[in-house]
């Protein structure tokens, strides 16, 4: 892209971004949907509170993104250091778990409770996954009504895993939009080359990820094959379609009893 074209594109993007409230217009509909979903599922789980924690940075730290219930406001943006507490474990292990008497002793939840003034007694936490990767944690805390609360059951644990799938796809959309928003904001705020270098660094990181490299190798291979002619292109497409079909069938039969 020539410099003039790049400058023109930048101007256009700036104008576009400036006309909308980037801070909220992009992410708010998604965070609202997440809260609605939490409310509906919390009622279904007979749970007083529901919350979503998402990863913050690359070191396994978590942050409360959305919550419902009495202390929702205090919870939002509260951070959970890597590996701490039940949420930290569920995030890093990928294993769901339930604790019936969470608040009895000094635990990480006692620290969270101290900050929010809430009393966590029974909790169910399940990982949020997208494309096989854990991207956050979904939690249900306490029951509707008065304590003592009935512990979460295995059936409810399975139910929560299903809810987690829906929440995870919204979180994934939220994260993509947030990234886009941040790039947009950088373009508005930043003057000169510094911000472009940040964007380039980010793209560089993306490119050096092993999954990305593998896909890139595959793409190069396909491009080479396809460049050889119409017949090769057709054959390549047929082979790939057959592989996808085979893989679908294989995963259906292999894990039927799972």
């Amino acid at each position: 892209m020539s410099e003039t074209a790049e400058t023109q594109l930048e101007k256009k993007l700036r104008r576009l971004i400036e006309t909308i409230d980037v801070g909220n217009a992009l992410t708010e509909p998604l965070t609202d949907s997440i809260v609605h979903l939490l409310r509906i599922t919390a009622a279904e789980m007979n749970s007083e509170e529901a919350s979503v924690l998402i990863r913050e940075g690359d070191d396994g730290d978590l942050r409360f993104l959305s919550a419902t219930g009495k202390v929702a406001e205090q919870l939002i943006n509260l951070r959970v250091p890597a590996g701490k507490g039940i949420a930290g474990f569920v995030f890093s292990s990928g294993q769901p778990m339930a604790v019936a008497d969470a608040g009895e002793e000094e635990t990480f939840y006692a620290e969270v409770d101290k900050q929010t003034g809430y009393s966590t007694q029974t909790i169910l936490a399940t990982p949020l996954r997208h494309n096989g990767e854990v991207i956050g944690v979904l939690e249900y805390v306490n029951r509707i009504g008065e304590p003592p609360y009935e512990p979460f059951s295995p059936v409810e644990m399975d139910k929560a895993a299903l809810f987690a799938e829906a929440v995870a796809s919204l979180i994934n959309a939220y994260e993509s939009v947030k990234l886009f928003r941040e790039l947009g904001e950088k373009m508005i705020d930043g003057e000169g080359t510094e911000d472009y270098s940040q964007v380039r660094a980010w793209l560089g990181e993306l490119r050096s990820a092993p999954e990305h490299r593998e896909m890139l190798d595959l793409a190069i291979l396909i491009r080479e094959l396809a460049a050889r002619g119409e017949a090769e292109r057709e054959m390549c497409r047929e082979v790939l379609e057959a592989v996808v079909k085979f893989s679908d069938q294989k995963s259906e039969t292999s894990f039927l009893s799972y």
Binding site: G60, A82, F89, G94, A98, V99, L124, P210, F255
Partner: protein, 275 residues
């Protein structure tokens, strides 16, 4: 080997031959058996566990390599302590190697426990509790490889199933490890074996009361608490029969589970009707 005649086709298919195991193991305590717990660490000061930790190491990420160094970090999540507590309840004289791979920071979920598993296999620990899993496809092949190495080295790896809609590794690798999911059963000796299923064993995993960092106890639910129940049972078996191979351990578990199932059956009269 004993041939059982007249066995009805049931939950375990049509297999009619299995080996019987005596009950000596039930009175053992896991003495002389070392268990590697690949998890969030173990609280060494907990009254149920103090003096039982032979080794505590944690993963460190240095120069793109994962090293294991001595650790005094204890357990910040509680999970490793909970698992060790369950094992210790069943096998009070078993000793632990705590391999802390969670909460060490800087490591991805799959990468850290893969390194922990490799460490345990290199040390040739006989019994390995792995209450963790990953669904990332890039870990499928390396985990498969490691578990084959474990099998050949005689390391018995017990993994928790993941009660999520998609399969998780390594719990779906049936041949080279023992995978466990939770049941509402409360007696640790009364575990189940689901022959032909991907996750073959079931053990108590609902509201299990066990040790928690800080000296207390908690009631926990999850497949990752079913896994240490089976590890505890295997510790008793290994004390009784120290030379059991992973294959023989699995066969013994199958035989015991089958006896459990038979015990649970209603008594039948000669006409085959329940009385």
């Amino acid at each position: 080997m004993t041939t059982v005649t007249g066995y009805q086709t049931g939950k375990f298919g049509t297999m009619s031959t299995y080996f019987q195991i005596d009950d000596i193991w039930k009175s053992r305590t896991g003495k002389g058996v070392g268990v590697a717990v690949i998890d969030s660490g173990i609280d060494q000061t907990h009254p149920d566990l103090s003096g039982k930790i032979l080794e505590a190491v944690e993963a460190r990420h240095e120069n793109k390599r994962v090293l294991f160094v001595a650790s005094d970090a204890g357990d910040s999540a509680g999970h490793g302590t909970a698992c060790a507590g369950i094992i210790s309840k069943i096998a009070p004289d078993a000793r632990f190697h705590s391999i802390r791979v969670l909460g060490a920071g800087g490591l991805g979920d799959g990468q850290s426990f893969l390194a922990g598993l490799e460490y345990a296999i290199k040390q040739r620990y006989r019994l390995i509790n792995l209450s963790l899993g990953t669904t990332k496809p890039q870990f499928f092949a390396p985990l498969h490889d490691l578990l084959d190495r474990a099998y050949q080295a005689g390391c018995i790896v017990v993994a928790a199933a993941n009660n999520l809609p998609q399969p998780s590794f390594p719990s779906v690798f049936s041949s080279s490890l023992i995978s466990v999911s939770k049941s509402t059963e409360t007696d640790p000796f009364h575990f189940g074996f689901r022959y032909g299923e991907v996750i073959e064993l079931t053990a108590p995993g609902v509201n299990v009361r066990t040790a928690w960092p800080g000296g207390g106890y908690k009631s926990l639910t999850g497949n990752s608490f079913a896994c240490p129940h089976i590890v505890g049972i295997i510790a008793l078996l290994l004390e009784t029969y120290p030379n059991l191979t992973p294959f023989q351990v699995k066969s013994a578990l199958y035989a015991i589970a089958r006896e459990n199932l038979e015990e649970n059956r209603p008594v039948e009269n000669n006409e085959g009707e329940s009385v």
